[in-house]
């Protein structure tokens, strides 16, 4: 910016832009408040059965109860921990396998149809088998979660790797480099933006996988609370868990976005 005193037109433009942003914020909040009040109102007036549909006040009460006996923190903690463990495993193994596929044309061509098939397979179909194989425990949940995210991760990274500018690779070879130099000087540093945008997808998918796993093989965690709540007809518990899940997934996503900002070059 060379200009120190913005012109009138520029000031007007900035004012307009600020107003627009404020309006968006206000509308967003109002929409939420409106929906919540409508829901509460309908429940209070008996237009919907709050035993089945719950209500904001009942959800809040349920949450406060669980805060008091501290059980909610345990459930959130378990789900977050399982998600982070499987996220770390997906990220590391996805990267390693993608590099392996890149390094050998034969390996990647042999494995391609299997990857495509495994990627499009609905992973929830695997969950019952996993329970039988691995037992009713955290191992099943983490493997289920990895299976949801890892194949897409491998394919995205591998596609990204194979699109690296061939001239950049030629440059490395012309400077006397070997395949390993291509990997460490071009491929990996050049793929940092791709890897990060891929982790954003992965964290969400890992959470999906953890919840699928917890539906079937858990006695703690938010997924367990949802299934348990629906079985004993405690819809407050179900709705509360879903709301918390929304917040958890938003926080995890923002965490990665924050990391992306820091690494950005």
């Amino acid at each position: 910016m060379i200009e120190t005193h913005p012109t009138l037109a520029q000031q007007e433009f900035i004012e307009k832009e600020k107003l627009h942003r404020r309006n968006v914020r206000v509308w967003r909040t109002m929409l939420l408040v409106l929906l919540l009040s409508l829901w509460e109102l309908c429940a209070r007036l008996g237009m919907i059965n709050d035993f089945i549909f719950s209500s904001p006040s009942r959800v809040t009460a349920c949450f406060l109860n669980m805060v008091v006996d501290k059980s909610i923190f345990m459930h959130i903690g378990v789900t977050v921990m399982e998600t982070l463990i499987s996220f770390a495993l997906v990220t590391i193994s996805g990267l390693l396998i993608a590099v392996l596929l890149w390094s050998s044309r034969s390996v990647s061509e042999v494995l391609e149809p299997y990857l495509v098939m495994l990627n499009s397979l609905p992973k929830s179909a695997l969950a019952p088998i996993l329970i039988v194989w691995l037992g009713n425990n955290i191992k099943t949940i983490i493997v289920a979660s990895i299976s949801v995210a890892v194949f897409g991760c491998i394919m995205t990274l591998h596609t990204g790797f194979s699109q690296v500018d061939p001239d950049m690779i030629k440059l490395i070879y012309s400077l006397g480099g070997k395949k390993k130099d291509v990997l460490f000087k071009v491929l990996l540093p050049g793929s940092v933006p791709l890897i990060i945008s891929n982790t954003k997808v992965n964290i969400g998918l890992c959470l999906v996988g953890v919840i699928i796993g917890e539906f079937l093989a858990a006695n703690k965690g938010l997924g367990y609370l949802i299934i348990y709540g629906s079985q004993v007809f405690q819809m407050d518990l179900v709705v509360m868990s879903i709301v918390i899940l929304c917040i958890v997934s938003a926080i995890l996503y923002q965490g990665i976005a924050l990391l992306e900002k820091k690494i950005k070059f």
């Binding site: 500018d165 001239d167 950049m168 030629k170 440059l171 490395i172 070879y173 012309s174 400077l175 006397g176 480099g177 130099d181 000087k185 071009v186 540093p189 050049g190 940092v192 070059f265």
Partner: protein, 255 residues
Amino acid sequence: MKPKLEVRGISYSYHSLEGETLALSNISFTADNGEFLAIVGPSGCGKSTLLSLLSGLLVPDEGEILIDGVSQAKSGVNIGYMLQRDHLFEWRTIMGNAELGLEIQKKRNKSSKEKLHQMLHTYGLGSFEQAKPSELSGGMRQRAALVRTLALEPDLLLLDEPFSALDYQTRLSVCDDISSIIKSTHKTAILITHDLSEAISVADRVIVLTSRPGKIKAIVPISFGGDDIRPLTRRNMPEFSVYFNQVWKELQNHD
């Protein structure tokens, strides 16, 4: 005196499932120490293939390439290769990019760093050592790419249309700039270009290739009566248009 580079009857074909394409056929020429050669030819005549062969990235099907009288593969000489685009890595600083070759060949040390520092300074990039490539103009980027190439002290420089990605005005001045730097270091250089004026303005000899398969059509010696005449000056001399017509005719008449 032994020529710096001697190319003896090389041929090269590309293979695909659809068939075989003969890209270069029976190419022979020599380059003396410190000579600046330009290779021109219609697009698809295998110019870039020729450079890849000279640099050792590809191996010829027939013929041999001798550098200082020793076969290319065994000579172990450093060959600097400048590509069409500078390919400076955005995730490295200019200094980091310049020392890429040294890093790969594990020759990075205190004195090499000092030398790079000097070179960047000499070529007007001294204050941009820690800058990111995107902060530099097209001409400066190409100069940084040249420093990256020269850092390995190559015996032979291969230039694959290094100015073609620049806009015309920048192109003239960068070509003037880079070729003067190369001449001042007395390196043997081979420039590939499809721009005849560029070839004539920098080269000592112009090699004209035919279209596929690439064969040598003619070798036109260029002399402006002095080694230190800059490319931009050459463009304004009366001999320039004579050479231009001569090379143009060679390119035009098919036999």
